[in-house]
């Protein structure tokens, strides 16, 4: 039987990366996620599995190392926090355009600018609506426990390779820094080149052999007719991901009159809010998007017919609330409550906001 151990979110994720059979990690230190590269350097995965770990000279270099190694068909990842992800956004756009699978982890802190080193969720727009230039999407997973920090590594790689698309784990400083019980996954073997080709096709730059045409990894096509065809292909792929990979969790939604929608650290707070509300006779529920993109639009649309209102709880000025509004289609009141700048709301404060915004006003 597997044994539970106590671990920091960042470290559990780093260990899970080794155990997922990742081929390489390229990173650059930034608070509050520096434990990821520190843990990997300390563990020397080169000796354990052959996994490469390299500290780059900048986030720009790190993401482009991911580009190079990822375009070789390898399981490659990087991690950073908000300002660093802004720097990486150029490379992320290139990888989306070139269809290079990889894993990018953002352990969010409050912004804008250098902002703060305390937790935030203000990169929701950046993660789900672009961040870099061009029409592209990332597969975005939002862990709310240390266990999910560990579990989402392998899941992200699987999704990234299935669709040849970058995947992102959008965590925050609280989940990254806190220690919690975690069951670590079993060690998987790193995939051989032959296995990668068998599983995912022969698209990567592995060296042109006589039995195939050369493989070119590029996002460029100077002919607009062909670039449009490429864009249509990407959009069709995104549609397929929306249809197949939307993930969410419902807590006490079956009889709820008011549904809170929250992810990551905010979703944990909302579980307490449900308890506090129900003690007062308020039927509260929580819908927790696990994939922020694709966003769980359908369950929200369905609940909009049944409930008296939604409260979006986020550690930002109101970003995911826009997607909830789109899903609700005006059929129920939608409000937002959020703290910013690294502040985390208390459950009683969220409950009070819910009562004021959704119940007193009705």
């Amino acid at each position: 039987m597997k044994e539970a151990i106590l671990m920091k979110g960042n470290e559990a994720m780093a260990e899970a990366a080794i155990r997922a059979g990742a081929d390489a990690y390229f990173g650059y230190p930034i608070t509050p996620q520096s434990e990821v590269i520190e843990y990997l350097m300390h563990e020397e995965p080169q000796k354990r599995t052959g996994m490469v770990v390299l500290q780059a000279e900048s986030e720009l270099a790190a993401i482009n190392m991911v580009y190079g190694a990822g375009a070789c068909g390898k399981r490659v990842m990087t991690s950073s926090s908000s300002p660093g992800i802004s720097l990486k956004s150029e490379g992320i756009s290139y990888m989306a355009g070139s269809e290079i699978p990889c894993l990018i982890v953002n352990v969010m802190r409050g912004g804008p600018g250098l902002g703060t080193i305390q937790p935030g969720q203000s990169d929701y727009f950046q993660a789900t609506k672009g961040g870099g230039h061009g029409d592209y999407r990332l597969i975005v997973l939002a862990p709310s426990t240390v266990q999910e920090m560990a579990d989402f590594v392998d899941l992200s790689f699987k999704l990234a390779f299935k669709y040849r698309n970058p995947a992102m784990i959008l965590s925050d400083g609280a989940i990254g820094q806190m220690m919690e019980k975690v069951y670590l996954p079993e060690q998987k073997e790193r995939l051989s080149n032959e296995k990668i080709i068998e599983l995912y096709g022969d698209w990567a730059t592995t060296g042109k052999t006589a039995n195939r045409e050369r493989n070119i990894i590029t996002s460029l096509d100077l002919k607009p007719e062909r670039q449009e065809i490429h864009n249509i292909h990407l959009q069709e792929k995104y549609k397929m991901i929306e249809e197949n990979e939307t993930r969410y969790e419902e807590i006490r939604c079956e009889d709820a009159e008011y549904i809170m929608v929250a992810f990551g650290t905010s979703a944990r707070l909302c579980q307490k809010v449900i308890q506090l509300g129900r003690e007062k006779g308020l039927k509260l529920g929580l819908l927790r998007p696990i994939t922020l993109w694709p966003f769980p639009k359908k369950p929200i649309t369905d609940y909009a017919e049944k409930v008296k209102g939604f409260l979006s709880v986020e550690m930002n000025a109101g970003q995911m609330v826009e997607d909830i509004l789109l899903a609700v289609e005006g059929k129920a009141p939608v409000e937002h409550y959020g703290r910013m700048g690294g502040m985390i709301a208390s459950p009683s404060e969220i409950l009070q906001a819910l009562e004021e915004k959704l119940i007193s006003n009705n």
Binding site: L54, S58, L60, N64, Y67, A69, R214
Partner: protein, 257 residues
């Protein structure tokens, strides 16, 4: 009177083959201007890869700039990197494929302006890669703007009265700079605008790939080249201008070996 017209095949049959295009250059029209040095640089690079028999194990990285489409012309697996990031991309490839041969092909804006940090740090780590650096002192692709290597007084569309070093800085000698780094095994400056230089440049490229094979560290080959379109000169005048102006500031020869 009778005339006989020979087909191309018959002409080839009658003559002796003295030169053959390497199979690693594709049969597609090059996108470069007539007289541009990129064509020769591409050819000798691919000739070295063919002669060493390493084309199945070679992965190239194309830059942003005129040679962004290098992957259309070279018959090997290639990646196209964001502007300036080729040495980081090459690092990623080489770290997961230490037994493959990896090269970048970059221009002066790419390597010595926007990609300076990536260039210096790849060299400083002694990444076991080959960097081919084409220096023609101008941004060709975007239409002739000032490059980090534009000479003092040289005109471009963003230095229309000539480069004024007081406000625009000095032309950068980045090959000399990275030659100082212990990770760099070989740094040399070559040219391809005349036949006498082409053979030397090819030998330098060969030495660089041999260094990679022998895991000696980074090799950087700067090729001082022309840009007749950007310089607003005919191809012949451009080569003459290169001889008379570029080579004083960017002298040819090995900087570190």
């Amino acid at each position: 009177m009778t005339t006989s017209v020979l087909t191309p095949e018959e002409i080839i049959k009658k003559g002796k083959v003295v030169f053959k295009k390497t199979k690693l250059i594709n049969d597609v029209p090059l996108s470069y201007c007539p007289g541009c040095g990129h064509g020769v640089a591409h050819r000798i690079l691919m000739e070295v890869v063919e002669e060493m028999g390493i084309w199945e194990d070679t992965i190239g990285v194309a830059p942003v700039g005129c040679s962004v489409l290098a992957y259309d012309f070279m018959n090997i697996d290639m990646q196209q990197a964001a502007h300036g990031r080729a040495p980081a991309v090459a690092t990623g490839i080489k770290r997961v494929y230490p037994e493959k041969y990896v090269f970048t092909y970059q221009g002066d804006g790419d390597l010595a302006a926007i990609g300076t940090a990536e260039t210096i740090h790849a060299c400083n780590r002694g990444e076991n890669i080959v960097i081919i650096f084409i220096n023609n002192g101008i941004y060709g692709m975007t239409g002739g703007q000032m490059a980090p290597t534009t000479l003092e007084g040289m005109r471009s569309s963003t230095s229309p009265y000539g480069r004024m070093v007081q406000t625009m800085g000095y032309p950068i000698k980045i090959t000399e700079m990275v030659a100082m780094l212990p990770g760099v095994a070989y740094a040399t400056r070559q040219a391809v605008h005349e036949a006498k230089y082409v053979r030397k440049a090819k030998n330098a490229i060969k030495k660089a790939f041999e260094n990679q094979r022998d895991k000696k560290g980074t090799s950087i080959i700067e090729i001082v080249s022309n840009c007749n379109s950007g310089w607003k000169l005919s191809p012949v005048e451009a080569n003459k201008w290169l001889d008379e102006n570029m080579l004083d500031y960017f002298p040819l020869g090995d900087i570190k070996k």
